[in-house]
């Protein structure tokens, strides 16, 4: 069963205890990973997620991943960390190296969903990205934490230098497309949708 976004945001997801390799992932990637697991019959992979709200506090990610690796490593043959750098400034990569575990390559999920090489080649630094999860959770992850629900006048201080919102669609869902378009309008940005699928996430997991 797919866990609710709210649960993934606040609490994360506990492992099922089945499979040789444990994926320690961001809660924002749970649906995508479970979908890939089911579609490919990857029964050797188990999944646990840290709360997606860590996305808002990147400085806490490295320690949270370390704690999860330490807690679970004796129960599995291997562990794979499904975080990119995610604003840790290289600290997560260095810690994973110290812990002897692999992780997904790339600066953040926006990059690996599109494919790290393609994303880097675009060099579109005036784009603000949303994924399926972030479109669904736009208010919880963007609007409210930035205080725009209470102080809409701050919008241009945050987004004045951006030009467009790019919705990287993992799934082809017209309702999410419409919601993402509305998010762009609320932020005062042009809108673009790209159907990325799972990009390098699928490639990385298929190699395990």
């Amino acid at each position: 069963m797919i866990p609710a976004d709210r649960e993934l945001t606040e609490a994360g997801l506990a492992p099922e205890g089945r499979g040789r390799i444990l994926l320690i992932a961001c809660g924002a990637l749970a649906r995508e990973i479970l979908d890939l697991k089911a579609a490919n019959s990857w029964t050797h992979l188990d999944l646990t997620c840290l709360p997606a709200k860590l996305h808002l506090y990147p400085e806490k990610i490295t320690e949270a991943v370390t704690e999860a690796v330490t807690r679970h490593r004796d129960d599995y043959d291997g562990i794979f960390v499904v975080y990119a750098d995610c604003g840790t400034g290289g600290l997560l990569e260095a810690r994973c190296r110290d812990l002897g575990v692999e992780m997904v390559a790339g600066p953040h999920c926006y990059s690996f969903f599109e494919g790290n090489a393609t994303f880097a080649a675009r060099d579109e630094f005036t784009a603000f990205y949303l994924t399926d999860f972030l479109v669904r959770q736009f208010d919880a992850f963007v609007w409210k934490p930035m205080g725009l629900d209470r102080h809409p006048e701050l919008r241009d201080m945050y987004f004045g230098n951006y030009e467009k919102l790019v919705y990287q669609a993992q799934t082809d869902d017209p309702a999410l497309d419409a919601k993402a378009r509305d998010c762009a309008a609320r932020l005062g940005l042009a809108y673009e949708r790209r159907l990325t699928g799972y990009g390098d996430l699928a490639t990385a997991l298929s190699a395990l």
Binding site: F125, P145, G147, L148, M157, N161, Y162
Partner: protein, 230 residues
């Protein structure tokens, strides 16, 4: 009018300054503008209004942000209020010859458009008596170098929010070294994904985790520079 409404002009100086600290904390732009005007009308020097009312108030905001009591939206509102107060004071400070501590060129690196942290640092540096030349966002190395030379700056401040753009700071520092200019400037770096190790690794003089630290670090380095010259 509510019975408990505070009339700023009826407060004595000490009460008014404390009230301005509260108003700054609450991001009340118009109240700050009014408070600044009242203090000036009472004969306060622009420098005293700046340091005792605005900077002191913003220092409380900065400390509570550091301690996780305030968050970015509240800090931005406070910064907007302080900016409004400073807009009144700036021309007066120039006229009255307030002390200048040093000059800083500050900008966000190439490929990065984030400027909230940079703007906060710039404002607090101005509040502390530094002359700040803000060269904006998405700056290639040439633009930094040109501004440093043109402005005869003491300090270079570089900001980045992205893991992908922060390595560009090293490009700037390495270019300064190649041109034999590195020792002419104090180089301070900051931004959410940076840390002290990164600052050391790229050859910056210091990593500053927030605006208050940036101000203190800049003051310390300027004092050391002056001591070395004495």
């Amino acid at each position: 009018m509510a019975d408990d409404e505070i009339i700023l002009s009826e407060l004595d100086d000490e009460e008014l300054v404390l009230q301005m600290h509260d108003d700054l904390y609450d991001g009340l732009k118009e109240e700050i503008e009014e408070g600044v005007r009242i203090l000036l009308d009472r004969g306060w020097t622009p420098y005293d209004v700046l340091t005792k009312a605005l900077v002191a108030g913003m220092t409380i905001v900065g400390a509570d942000f550091r301690d996780g009591i305030l968050f970015v939206p509240e800090v931005l509102l406070a910064a907007n209020a302080m900016k409004a107060g400073m807009a009144i004071l700036k021309p007066l400070l120039a006229e009255t010859g307030a002390p200048k501590v040093g000059k800083m060129v500050i900008g966000t690196v190439k490929g990065d458009i984030h400027d909230i942290g940079k703007n906060l640092v710039g404002m607090m540096m101005e509040g502390a008596g530094f002359e700040v030349v803000d060269i904006g966002i998405n700056n290639p190395v040439e633009k930094y170098l040109e501004a440093l030379e043109r402005e005869q700056a003491d300090i270079l401040g570089m900001s980045a929010l992205l893991t992908t753009t922060m390595p560009y700071m090293k490009v700037v520092i390495d270019t300064l070294k190649e041109k034999g200019m590195r020792d002419d400037y104090i180089v301070l770096v900051g931004g959410a994904p940076l840390n002290e190790e990164f600052g050391k690794a790229i050859g910056a003089d210091a990593y500053c985790r927030d605006a208050a630290v940036a101000v203190q670090t800049a003051k310390d380095f300027i004092a050391r520079k002056h001591n070395a010259m004495a």
